[in-house]
Symmetry: C2
Subunit: 499 residues, 2 copies
């Protein structure tokens, strides 16, 4: 091994210790730090994340990467190290073009905008958020100008979350969806809606926790390589492939919430648990493509979890754990978990109207960065689009434009990933059925592990080393298209709603 390579490996190992403890501090703050202990954790987090940042942007690291990128050294690296050196060098080259004081100002602005957003949402007063949102938009565009000079800003942002995705492609996909789903949802909403009185009442929270573990075990989340915590909002976090934490929130009156959060976060978790362990603690590990990641959580949650056959082998068990479900037939259950209704809040939307929530946000982000629509005018635009796509208008901004935190921390361009994930899912579904046979039959026979194995081998194993485009090519052998997802929706809802 070359001296520089050895040095780099040691350097990255050390850096990974700092990342390890900041991850743990974050996990503990979300799951168990007592109120007065938070300040101590924040101090430690600041200290260690600064250390990690310094190590990740140091001149020393830059020089090592420079040396290893030279043909004579690069040629001797194995494939993993080639990926790591190339990716880190590319990211550093981009980041080092940002003047340090501008980056600091951005981090500060993020924190301020976050606080202002929370205040604005609680008071349902958009005006509190306006100056901060303006600032985040300006600064996000400024940073994109440094990292990717000469490139269209919104394309840079999309690319940050889903490399290789430009708005031309997203436009094509989303337009297709809009055209086809608009009449479909209209038909659905005009049809007979299910009765859901049996889902009301108090459902024991401890029993819900047992159901959650039953589901995680069932879909293949490893207890040896993962655990579950309780947090305000469910999320997934990983130290490395061997330690992946998912979290959940239990609502006594909404038993379906924790069940589908478990399946969703479990999907994220199964992804991370099955990345090639050789990639642990490097940029090759943990997948950073948000669309690809969401494609896994949403595949488990929607394509599998909202399929009646998924529940066939475990529905009796569910009734044993939560006795109220003994009074609910599998058919009634199936109808309720696929109950389509126009709703104001994205995170509460059903599988199909969810698409509109994303398209709306995508169009507003384009309006911000392309058409420079004034920040003051965005709530009106939001409400117009809600009316157009979902037929309802929020009574206030808290349940409208202020509902999501994404824009407060500058995550413009993130939202489309959620829907791209579902679009990929349509394509995976087609491919799995070609390669393994009917998913309905596999699920009905309790063979979900065959599907998980397929996803492990085709997608998870590669972690961060394949771009979304490459995933599509290698897994499905074709360009990304919304057609399979649309076909899936049409078939599913035509049956359920007898359209």
């Amino acid at each position: 091994m070359s001296e520089t390579l050895e040095k780099l490996k040691k350097y990255l190992e050390e850096k990974s210790q700092y990342d390890h403890v900041t991850t743990l501090l974050y996990w503990d703050m979300e799951t168990g730090t007592p109120k007065e202990g938070l300040a101590g954790h924040v101090d430690a987090m600041t200290y260690f994340s600064t250390k990690a940042f310094e190590m990740g942007t140091s001149k020393e690291l830059g020089e090592m990467l420079e040396t290893l990128s030279k043909p004579e050294e690069f040629g001797q690296l194995d494939d993993t190290m080639k990926f790591i050196v190339t990716r880190m060098k590319r990211d550093m080259d981009k980041e080092k073009r940002i003047p340090a004081e501008r980056y600091e100002a951005y981090v500060r602005a993020q924190a301020e905008a976050g606080n202002a957003w929370r205040e604005a949402k609680n008071a349902s007063d958009y005006s509190i958020f306006v100056p901060h949102l303006k600032n985040m938009i300006t600064m996000t565009a400024e940073l994109a100008g440094y990292t990717d000079p000469g490139k269209e800003v919104y394309d840079v942002l999309l690319d940050n979350y889903e490399e290789g995705m430009d708005s031309a492609t997203v436009d094509r996909l989303f337009d297709e969806l809009k055209k086809e789903l608009f009449p479909l949802v209209k038909q659905i909403l005009a049809a007979k809606q299910p009765e859901n009185g049996k889902f009301q009442g108090n459902f024991d929270v401890n029993a819900q926790k047992e159901v959650q573990w039953m589901l995680l075990d069932y879909i293949g989340f490893s207890r040896e390589k993962g655990t579950v915590g309780e947090t305000e909002h469910p999320f997934t976090l990983n130290f490395c492939s061997k330690d992946v934490r998912v979290s959940n929130h239990y609502y006594e009156k909404e038993p379906l919430s924790a069940m589908f959060s478990a399946i969703h976060e479990g999907g994220h978790g199964i992804f991370e648990q099955n990345v090639n362990p050789d990639y642990d603690n490097t940029v090759a590990g943990s997948c950073y493509y948000m669309g690809v990641h969401e494609s896994q959580s949403r595949f488990y949650e929607n394509i599998l979890g909202r399929n009646k056959n998924f529940w066939l082998p475990i529905y009796e068990k569910l009734g044993q754990l939560l006795p109220q479900f003994q009074e609910i037939s599998l058919d009634e259950f199936y109808r309720e978990i696929n109950h389509v209704k126009n709703s104001l809040i994205r995170t509460e939307a059903d599988e199909v109207t969810y698409c509109f929530h994303i398209i709306l946000r995508y169009e507003i982000e384009k309006a911000i960065f392309r058409e420079h629509v004034a920040v003051e005018d965005l709530p009106e635009l939001w409400n117009e689009k809600m009316k157009e796509y979902l037929g309802i208008v929020p009574a206030n901004d808290a349940e409208g434009i202020l509902q999501d935190m994404h824009w407060s921390d500058g995550s413009f361009g993130y939202f489309p990933s959620y829907l791209l994930g579902s679009i990929y899912d349509g394509m995976y579904l087609d491919t799995i059925e070609k390669e393994l046979g009917s998913v309905d039959e596999l699920l009905a026979a309790g063979k979900i592990s065959e599907i998980t194995k397929w996803l492990n081998e085709k997608i998870h194993w590669y972690g961060n080393t394949r771009t979304p485009k490459e995933v599509m090519e290698k897994v499905c052998g074709t360009e990304v298209s919304a057609e399979p997802l649309i076909r899936y929706f049409k078939k599913k809802y035509t049956e359920i709603y007898e359209l």
Copy 2:
């Protein structure tokens, strides 16, 4: 502020970050790390505890302490800094006499002995542990020779856990206890024993957790400054006074176990939560005197928790949370939580026979370090003493000499602290009754917070800044004596067992 003082404060603040994350890593490993994630945590723990150790023993720190110890600088320090500088300098002066390679060898031997002890205990085969125990004894004595040259080894060890305690004092206290408790226990065991069939059955673990929180709230453990985790063995850990974690273990068939563990660990926790917050993250904070610490956990667990009046205001609530207790009268409950019986395992012993478990270990430790009894002969000695003090002999070494882990990590001299804690408790009880009036009446009136406030102000607030001797003088105004504890035992058991 002098330049050196400013530098020291910054230095200690940085060091405390490393301590903070090693504490968190430990907590997470005990409460939630998935099996395969342990190795990653161990790596991080090794990395950060090495960093903390380096910072705690560096030449740089030594020089700062040296400078600040000079009269002209020392005179300008406030009382807290005076304590910190003096204590750190003393500890460093001792530790730096240990040759680095000998300390490393000791740490390695500890780890090896720990593994051997676990193996030996599982196999109930003392011979597996013999060479490691020999090694730990030799090395512990060797280290004591470096830190405290010329001092009697076992006195050095006692002093490590309970500063100022030498074996002459401990002998005096324990001999008095032996003399008085021996006939008392004999009388008790000859008396009528309570029926405890009602405590058999399955007690819902989730309800037990609610009972635990009810008890922690009741005794004054702050939820704002603390939380509870689930671990194999209950313990208490603290980051600083604002973040103190206690843990518990729930046995479906033994409802009293988690209740009294909660009160015991809660006592440790209340101590740490109420140390002067100015001492946070320094050697003045967290109390390192094991006897003093145990005196608080055991005061809550035994003096308060095993008093019938403690339960009067909350017994109905207990029955609401754990309905099986509705069938048990408070009298029956009281008799069971004070049920005296000879038992093999220290941690399962009742309040009074517990004393013999400690005296036995103390005498064996003296036999090891004073009389140099061969390690091979210790099980026989153990069994003889068991027969003498408790009238029973373990069937094997797993429930005999191998039951505790203390000797495997070289914690010789620790055991006496447990009993010293109870001896202190007898003295506190006398003083509280003089200053606040009858504890029975305070408890019966639900005024336990007055007792907690007294302990906060008299003991907890001072953290690590008073030695056990100083605590006794300041709080009780007298030398330590076993007489109050003996008097307490006699009164209590004469009543309960109608002797």
